[in-house]
Symmetry: C2
Subunit: 300 residues, 2 copies
């Protein structure tokens, strides 16, 4: 019932190019002052990453009846928030990571002060794009989208998860504590990406909204389990970031907690939970299901 792998691969490439174009166009140019800040912002955002969050926004939007035009600004915004979090996360006072997507991380390239400001300005830009003149949705939708993103970014979302992560270094978490931390640290933004896509649709069907909500919550957690598996398995060269860093920093991961095999089983089970509410929709849900496959099997 699902789309052919080729169709999905084509869609993925098309949407990745699409959000790259939107970001390239709507980010301040390097030729605009302050040059260093704008160079750092573009360096942190453009030309890298799988754009999983943007893909989720486009796919959930399509499922709920929004056009890709409707979703462009939310998709770009969620990628800006993700990029900002990586810039700040890599800084010496946080994870102190020198490599990101195979390149020097932003603070290694531009210095800590510029990286700090670039992250700050990327967050602002995300909200600027959604509330700006290029948004294709109605004010009430813009407000829902903005609120969803703001909550997912802040202390009850991503920043909160990062804070719990900081506090739990060196402490062995239970599986439930680990799930709670990840639900905030990465899950909240992944869920927001999908929900922002849904909110971009006119006359949003509440059953579909609930299905997207459940789907995105489980797939967000699956995404993190897979990330832990990748972090253990991959070497620095193929991953483009310093591998094994979490284990080295004595952080709890699904792999250190459950072992590799059980972590893989958990990822599969979360995948099944994610797609369960979509199955009644038949072909309409193809894209989201293919995306779930893409996310949970992205190492292959």
């Amino acid at each position: 019932m699902s789309a052919t792998p080729l169709q999905f691969a084509e869609w993925t490439l098309a949407m990745q190019s699409r959000v790259e174009y939107v970001l390239t166009k709507h980010m301040p140019a390097e030729t605009e002052a302050p040059h260093t800040l704008h160079r750092a912002m573009r360096y942190a955002v453009l030309g890298g990453g799988k754009r999983v969050r943007a893909l989720l926004a486009y796919a959930a939007g399509e499922f709920c009846g929004a056009s890709a035009d409707d979703v462009d600004m939310p998709a770009a915004a969620v990628e800006l928030i993700h990029a900002f979090s990586l810039v700040h996360d890599d800084m010496p006072c946080m994870d102190d990571d020198d490599l990101r997507r195979g390149k020097p991380s932003t603070h290694k390239q531009f210095g800590d002060a510029t990286a700090l400001l670039a992250g700050d300005a990327l967050q602002s830009l995300a909200f600027e794009l959604i509330s700006g003149a290029h948004s294709a949705t109605q004010p009430s939708q813009q407000v829902s989208i903005l609120h969803c993103l703001a909550v997912a970014t802040g202390s009850r979302g991503m920043a909160g998860g990062q804070s719990i992560d900081l506090e739990s270094t060196g402490i062995k978490l239970t599986q439930s504590q680990l799930a709670q931390m990840h639900a905030l640290k990465t899950g909240a933004l992944i869920q927001a990406a999908a929900m922002m896509g849904a909110y971009s649709a006119d006359n949003l069907d509440s059953d579909k909204m609930t299905a997207v909500d459940t789907f995105s919550k489980s797939i967000g957690l699956a995404f993190q389990v897979i990330d832990d598996i990748l972090d253990t398995e991959a070497d620095t060269a193929t991953l483009g970031k310093t591998a094994g860093k979490d284990a080295e920093q004595d952080k709890s991961t699904y792999v250190t907690l459950l072992g590799l095999d059980t972590a893989k089983t958990l990822a599969k089970s979360l995948y099944k939970q994610a797609i369960a509410p979509l199955e009644v929709y038949g072909r309409e849900a193809d894209r989201l299901i293919s995306l779930a496959n893409f996310i949970t099997q992205r190492q292959f």
Copy 2:
């Protein structure tokens, strides 16, 4: 024609208490996890500061016909953004300031990583409040308010000004370059504060909007000139931050550039520019004019 000093002082105290109440109520409690992050956020925001930006929002709102209820969320939001900028500004990779409002700065109290995250989460919270259920304005107004704040916070506003400030340390700026830097670094947020108040009014009169725009641009610049004067004149004890820091770090200020007397003359001239477009409004503009007095004479 202007309000009596006593009336203005009462209004100022009332509005300062009001925004403090709104912030206290709508910021996550210290008892809510993640505790350290929420403690740091409240530490950075509550119980200090003159709330000049919130006062501007309330006064401009009143001038344009908005009630204080209408302005509560924008007023709180602009104070959150201001607080976040101070947290990040004080960090070792930026100004490396140990004192803020007479207390240890946030990173001294909670560590660099928590300060970084607290600043990030305060920015998100600002946008969350404006777009949230407690906002008293219509969706189209919320979008205008949010967009205004996002632009003023980002690389074409405050963050951009900070970046220019960083790049110009050790370089002697011209008065026009210095004005441009400050127009972004502090002016943009002050202007946004007033404009967000204006946008909170239903059926906003376009002449009044223009008057608020001109007023807030000049008063923002005056505010910075005064800040430079204060930085030179005040000692650490009365100012609550490390005095003479800018001169010590070899940064251009209005005082180093123009001398103390000419800087004072400039502040007065900017004050006059600010209130000129308000004078046709008679008593309606009393509050904004009193606020201009308050801002430009705040050292007395």
